[in-house]
Each structure stands twice: as structure tokens, then as C-alpha cells.
């Protein structure tokens, strides 16, 4: 039976593979984000190497690539993934392990790649792509006064109205603790230490529960990145957590009356992985090196406010300001890594979530179900 189902899967993938053979296929999240990748480094790389690069959309997670591998017909070469998935996929042998300094070019000043990236990679299979932020924003027309800190997000007395928060526990617990008075410490270490204990988890859950059941507050849970700015603009909520690039696009791109607050932000990373045994592994490897070069990563920041992983890319951007595609907006201050934005922040810890995601997820759902 297993063989037959494998055969079926293989057949269905074989049909889809015929359309994408002899090209590097990159799976990413779609929307404005994929657009920035395609224009920023996808197209230039394709031109330089003379290889076609196809972009396909997916909605995250390893289920699809696992299914492709089980069927024995892998159709993706490169995937844009969360840190947690690079760890799981690397341990399970789905992705290629890198020899980092050999596989990726050094910065223009000669700094080896491993030194040029902001931090070390979570696994041997990952190469950094962007840094983004889980911060919050408000609609300036609907809020009286100016929220400045993460505490204000939970302060319904001073700023009454509903809040939009992410649908699952990820980053919500951290934000709740930061707002409850825990100083994040270096990279958020203190927050995660608190979350290792039952007491800390309950403290965070209670904080969220209090906000959601507050008659002056209340919660809307968002699931897609486009929702937070939308909910703010329609007036459905007064404040929303979200991804900084989406807020930036709404504010600078579309002129919405939205303002971001960087206090207590969670810095998170996005990575590329190279699929082991992908349809065009050799070319994919070359393309990946090109895409994650200093110039390449700086290129995508022209189109979206996510920070390139390489320090040297920020240098390129600063020299080229105004870097945004409209030709008049300076991009560096909008980066989640800018010094003014990282006064109080935590780094989202993939290892913590890889370990505790399931259990905290269950607790979170149970808490939500009781709202």
C-alpha cells in the first residue's frame, strides 16, 4: 500500500515537474515579499548566471517538501523558511549542509561570510536572508495620545479599543512578558528563561487573557501578514501587532495613517535552505550564493522594509540613500536592526519554540477556547 501511494504521489509530482525542469525553483511566501525578492536579487542573479529562476508560493512549514521527498520527486531547489524549520529539516536530512565561508562569498571588504552575517546560523543548512520585526502599530486617527512603549499596547485605560494579535502563541508570550515588566536582557534571554517555567508561561497567558476579556480592550486574532494594516485602516482595531514590512508598505507605500512602535519588538529571521537532491542542485547553489551576496541582499531592501542579514549590505544601502524604490525615502532608519529601533528588543528563539511549540500551542489554544 505504501508503495502505491508513493507511486501516486510521484505521478502527481512528475506532472508538475515537467513544467519547471532546467530552472531553479524557489519557494517563498508570496505577495509583496516574493516581489521584493524577485526584483531585488532573483532577476539580477538569473541574468548574471544565465539560469532561469522560478518563484513559487507556499504557506510555510515543511509538510510539502517532506511529501515531495517521500514521493521521490523533489521539485523545489531553494526554500525560504523559518529558523525552526531549518533545524528540523537539517536534522532530518532534507537540506544540504553548507561549508559556510566556502559556499558564500565574502563581503566587498574581504570579511568572510560567517563574520558578515549578524549572528550565527541556527543550523548548518541555513543561510540568512532577512531580519524582520514583530512590532506593533496604531492608527493615529483612532488613538488619542501617542503610545510609546510595549506597556501601552496592554494599557486599555489610557488607550481603549480592540487589539489585533497573532493567532498562535509565537511571540505573543514574549511580548506579554516584556509588557509585564520583564527586561528582555541580552537578546531576550531573560524572557525565555521565564518562559521555561510554568509560572512564567501562566503569567504571559494571564496577561493576554486579561487584555482579551477586558471590556475596554478585546482581541482580534490575525493569521495573514496583510491583515494587521487592514484591520488598523478599517478601524476594526486601534492597535495591532504585525510584521514591520507590512506596516511600512501601508504607511510609506500607501500613505495610511499608521505609526509603528519599536519598543519591545521581537526580531525574527528568515532563511534560505538548499533542498538536498533538488532538481537542479548545482545551479541552485550558485544562485543562492549570488542572491545572498552583499549586493543581492541589499537589493531586496529597495522594495520592502526588511533588513538584509549582512552587515555590509546595510553599508551599501546607507551609501545609496534614498534607497527605497520611490527614490525619496531613506531606508536605513526603517530597518528593524537600526539602533534607534533596537533599544528594547528580544530575538525570537527558534530552539525554544522547536522544543516547546507543541505544548505551548496546546495551552494557548485551550486559553483561547476559554475566552
Amino acid at each position: 500500500m505504501k508503495k502505491l501511494s508513493k507511486l501516486l504521489l510521484a505521478l502527481s509530482f512528475a506532472l508538475s515537474i515537467t513544467s519547471s525542469a532546467f530552472a531553479v525553483t524557489v519557494a517563498s511566501w508570496g505577495g509583496a515579499y516574493t516581489e521584493s525578492q524577485k526584483l531585488g536579487y532573483g532577476d539580477p542573479t538569473a541574468k548574471k548566471l544565465g539560469v532561469e529562476i522560478n518563484w513559487v508560493d507556499y504557506s510555510g512549514g515543511l509538510s510539502e517538501i517532506k511529501a515531495q521527498k517521500e514521493a521521490g520527486a523533489i521539485v523545489w531547489d531553494i526554500i525560504d523558511v523559518f529558523a525552526m524549520d531549518t533545524i528540523t529539516g537539517c536534522d532530518e536530512g532534507l537540506f544540504v549542509e553548507f561549508d559556510f565561508d566556502k559556499d558564500f562569498p565574502a563581503a566587498p571588504d574581504g570579511t568572510p561570510a560567517s563574520q558578515d552575517f549578524f549572528t550565527t546560523m541556527p543550523s548548518k543548512c541555513a543561510v540568512g536572508n532577512i531580519l524582520y520585526s514583530w512590532n506593533y502599530a496604531y492608527n493615529t486617527k483612532n488613538v488619542k495620545g501617542t503610545p510609546k512603549t510595549i506597556k501601552d499596547f496592554f494599557n486599555t485605560k489610557k488607550f481603549p479599543g480592540k487589539r489585533a494579535i497573532y493567532k498562535s502563541a509565537l511571540t505573543n508570550l514574549e511580548i506579554a512578558l516584556a509588557a509585564d515588566g520583564i527586561k528582555p536582557g541580552k537578546g531576550g534571554a531573560k524572557i525565555y528563561k521565564a518562559l521555561e517555567t510554568e509560572k512564567g508561561v501562566n503569567r504571559a497567558m494571564d496577561k493576554i487573557k486579561k487584555l482579551c476579556t477586558d471590556p475596554k480592550g478585546g482581541c482580534v486574532f490575525w493569521s495573514a501578514g496583510a491583515q494587521p494594516p487592514e484591520l488598523l485602516m478599517s478601524g476594526e482595531v486601534v492597535m495591532a501587532t504585525g510584521w514591520n514590512g507590512r506596516f511600512f508598505n501601508a504607511t510609506v507605500g500607501e500613505g495610511a495613517p499608521i505609526k509603528q512602535v519599536w519598543d519591545g519588538q521581537g526580531l525574527d529571521y528568515e532563511y534560505f535552505v538548499l533542498v538536498a537532491g533538488g532538481p537542479d542542485e548545482a545551479n541552485a547553489k550558485k544562485a543562492l550564493a549570488e542572491m545572498t551576496s552583499t549586493e543581492g541582499l541589499a537589493g531586496s531592501a529597495k522594495y520592502i522594509a526588511y533588513a538584509p542579514w549582512r552587515k555590509s549590505s546595510i553599508g551599501v544601502m546607507a551609501k545609496g540613500e534614498p534607497w527605497y524604490k520611490d527614490g525619496k525615502t531613506n531606508m536605513v532608519p526603517h530597518m528593524p536592526t537600526a539602533p534607534s529601533n533596537t533599544k528594547n528588543y528580544f530575538l525570537v528563539d527558534p530552539i525554544f519554540w522547536a522544543d516547546n511549540g507543541t505544548e505551548l500551542g496546546e495551552k494557548w489554544e485551550a486559553m483561547k477556547a476559554g475566552l
Binding site: S59, F221, S223, D355
Partner: protein
């Protein structure tokens, strides 16, 4: 006379009986060949995937095969205190082999489903193991991380001993088998599946009731109006039916949100004040409204097709025999529509119980249903065996409802058109 001589022969001398049988067999083969593609289709798209799912949900051979020595050493262990040195030593040898084969990642993922926190201590063990000295593995392993000295983790490991287990089904109803072999509930703050099952059934039930209450008069109107009006009405029923599910869900979001059109209208006519707009979205109300509207055609169409066949003279006869309009309706018309009601309710209920997108978009906190949880385990946690188990539980539920319906009303009575 012997019976042989009674046989009637065909012109070419073969007994008629045999010749007939032959012809019949040919027809049977032909008939079978005609339905063979359908049969094959059913086997490939239903029987195999469901069989595969069933197998996945109980199959735990992978972990059993990964740690053969450990499980053997654990046979004697009663699960009360930390296991003895021999268990640690066996585990060390098993795990060392997995690290060499580079398959330890799969073990880590599986064990993390059983008990959170396994992933990182296994990885830490992998790093530290290289410097291990021979002998006294218990102390060395426990020195890697304090969780290795926690008996809970060893109990979790022991739970994965059998090659086939029904533990995923227990997890689906928030239970587990503890070290004494008793089936107990998980801690209260982690009981989420039961809530979701109850909520799923509740939502499906009320959506079915709402659909029925709305669809009955509509279908009646459709069946009794003159052709030119009923056609127009029919288009009104079918048009949303042909529109994409996502589009319809999104339009409800625009209509129902607090700053939405419906609320704006309420404020405009003075029904509510501007700062006191009712919440009609991101809660159960939103789920009910959107799902009822989306599933309505599935109720209207079977009802309509049945009502169309009921002769109007029956009602007239009922009334002329002395019944009030209500009695005539209740005793004559209504029983005749039961086949349509059965078909419609069954359809709507079964569709509603597996609904996914709409509750996820408009349901808010109280809107997640069991199918959302299945998707979560398929996509995020990658616990496919658990997702399979819950999928099968849902399927069993649907079959049970079908069975009850068959006992109460009879499936033969269903009429779709």
C-alpha cells in the same frame, strides 16, 4: 425419459442453458469493464488514502526500530524511579548508532511530540557524547542536561515502546496512558481537543438548523411560484453557489465588521450608538452567519426537488377533508418533504463538520474548529500520525451520524433530486 434428453439445444448443438450462461458472462464482464474505471478511481482516491491514514495513525515502528536495545532494557523497569544504568547504556548505544546514520533528527522530532523539550536535550547529548568515556553512562548522560535526570522523560520514552499504538487517538480526546497503564486525562490547561470537538459539532448542528429554517420557506416558494418568478428566484439561490467560497467569506467580513456596512447602517438608522457597535465578527456569530449563507444552497436544492414533485391537490384534499391549513401542512405536506429534509440536513451537517476556511477567517478566538487543528498538525508540527488519527475520528463521526440517520429515517428515503 432421462433429464439429458430434455435439454434444449441451440442450432450449433450447444445446450441452450450453457450458451445463455456464456452470453450472460460476456455481458457481466462488459458491465464490469464499464464500471472498472470508476471502481479503480474509488480505490485510488478513497480506499488507499484512507487505508494509508489508518495505518499511519497507529504505526510507530520507526521509533521501535530506532531504539531496540533501549526498549529491551526497559522491559523490566516499572517507571517509578529513574531507570538503572543498563537502560542508560543501551540508550547510549542506540543513539550513537542513530547519530552515525544521521537519522537522530527523526527520533528527536518524534520524541518531542511525546514530551516537549526532548529535541534540545537530544541535540545537546549528540554534541557532548563525543567526549563520553566508557562506563557509568547514567551519570554522564544526566550531566548533559538536568532533564535527563527527570523521570518524566524516561516515562515518555517508554510509552513509545510498542510498534503499533492507539495513543494518538487517546490524545485526540485529551487522554493518555500513564506509567501504570491507566488511561487518564491530560492536565487541565492543555485540554483543547475536547472543547474543539464539542464546538465543531455544536456549530455544525446549529448551522444545519438555521439552514433548514431558512431554506424550507424558500424552497416552498420556489416550488409553488409560477415559472417566470421561480426561475429568477432560482438564479438568486444559485448565483452565490457559483461564487468562490473565499469571495463570499471576504464579503461577509466587509459587511459584518464593527466599522462595516451593516453596523454603519444600524448607526445611521439610530438602532445603536456609534461607540457601542455590536460585534458580529471574529466570534461565533460571524461563523454562524457566514457558514449558514454559504451552505444554504445545499439545503434549498434537495428540498426544492422534492417539493416540486408534491402535487398541490394533496393540500387541497387535506383541507377539504376538514383540516385547518396548519393540520393539512403538518399531516400531509410535511411528511412528504422528509426525504428532502433528510438529504439536505445530512449534506449540510457533513459539510459543516469539516469546515475550515470560513471559521478560520471570520471565527476569531472562538472560531477554530477541529479541522483547523488537523491542518495545524499537518503543516506546522508535522505530527502526521496525529493528524491522521484526528481525521479518522472525524470520518468515524460522520459515518456514525449517517448510521444513526439510517436507523431513524432510513437512507432509502433520501432524495437529492
Amino acid at each position: 425419459m432421462s433429464s439429458k434428453s430434455q435439454k434444449i439445444l441451440t442450432t450449433d448443438g450447444i445446450p441452450l442453458e450453457e450458451s445463455l450462461k456464456k452470453a450472460e458472462r460476456k455481458n457481466k464482464i462488459k458491465a464490469f469493464l464499464l464500471v472498472a474505471p470508476l471502481l479503480l478511481f474509488l480505490i485510488i482516491t478513497y480506499v488507499f488514502p484512507i487505508g494509508d491514514m489508518l495505518f499511519r495513525s497507529v504505526d510507530d515502528r520507526m521509533v521501535t526500530n530506532m531504539l531496540p536495545k533501549t526498549f529491551k532494557a526497559m522491559e523490566e523497569w516499572d517507571g517509578k524511579e529513574l531507570p538503572e544504568e543498563e537502560v542508560f547504556a543501551a540508550f547510549y548505544l542506540d543513539y550513537k548508532k542513530l547519530v552515525e546514520e544521521k537519522t537522530f533528527g527523526k527520533l528527536a522530532t518524534q520524541l518531542n511530540f511525546e514530551k516537549n523539550g526532548f529535541k534540545s536535550i537530544l541535540k545537546k547529548l549528540k554534541r557532548k557524547m563525543k567526549k563520553f568515556e566508557e562506563g557509568n553512562y547514567k551519570e554522564q548522560i544526566m550531566g548533559v542536561h538536568k532533564r535527563w535526570a527527570n523521570v518524566e522523560y524516561w516515562r515518555a520514552l517508554k510509552r513509545r515502546t510498542p510498534s503499533y499504538s492507539y495513543s494518538k487517538y487517546l490524545k485526540g480526546v485529551d487522554m493518555y496512558e500513564n506509567e501504570d497503564g491507566k488511561i487518564v486525562q491530560v492536565p487541565e490547561d492543555r485540554r483543547v481537543h475536547k472543547i474543539l470537538w464539542v464546538r465543531t459539532i455544536e456549530v455544525a448542528f446549529f448551522v444545519t438548523v438555521l439552514c433548514f429554517l431558512m431554506a424550507y420557506p424558500i424552497a416552498h416558494l420556489l416550488a409553488t411560484l409560477p415559472m417566470k418568478y421561480s426561475n429568477l428566484l432560482m438564479i438568486c439561490v444559485l448565483l452565490p453557489f457559483w461564487t468562490s467560497l473565499l469571495v463570499r467569506t471576504a464579503s461577509w467580513m466587509i459587511l459584518l465588521q464593527q466599522q462595516g456596512i451593516v453596523n454603519d447602517f444600524f448607526v445611521w438608522v439610530g438602532l445603536v450608538t456609534d461607540d457601542n457597535r455590536p460585534e458580529m465578527m471574529y466570534n461565533k456569530t460571524g461563523t454562524y452567519v457566514a457558514m449558514t449563507q454559504i451552505l444554504l444552497p445545499f439545503m434549498v436544492l434537495p428540498l426544492y426537488s422534492v417539493m416540486k414533485t408534491i402535487s398541490p391537490s394533496l393540500m387541497r384534499a387535506g383541507k377539504s377533508l376538514g383540516g385547518t391549513p396548519f393540520v393539512a401542512f403538518w399531516k400531509v405536506y410535511f411528511p412528504l418533504t422528509i426525504p428532502g429534509i433528510g438529504a439536505g440536513c445530512l449534506l449540510v451537517f457533513i459539510l459543516a463538520i469539516g469546515y475550515y476556511i470560513t471559521p478560520a477567517l471570520v471565527g476569531g478566538a472562538s472560531g477554530t474548529l477541529i479541522s483547523n487543528q488537523i491542518a495545524y498538525h499537518m503543516k506546522s508540527t508535522l505530527d502526521w500520525s496525529f493528524a491522521s488519527a484526528m481525521g479518522l475520528m472525524l470520518l468515524t463521526g460522520v459515518l456514525a451520524i449517517y448510521w444513526i440517520y439510517n436507523k431513524l429515517v432510513g437512507v432509502d428515503n433520501i432524495k437529492l433530486g
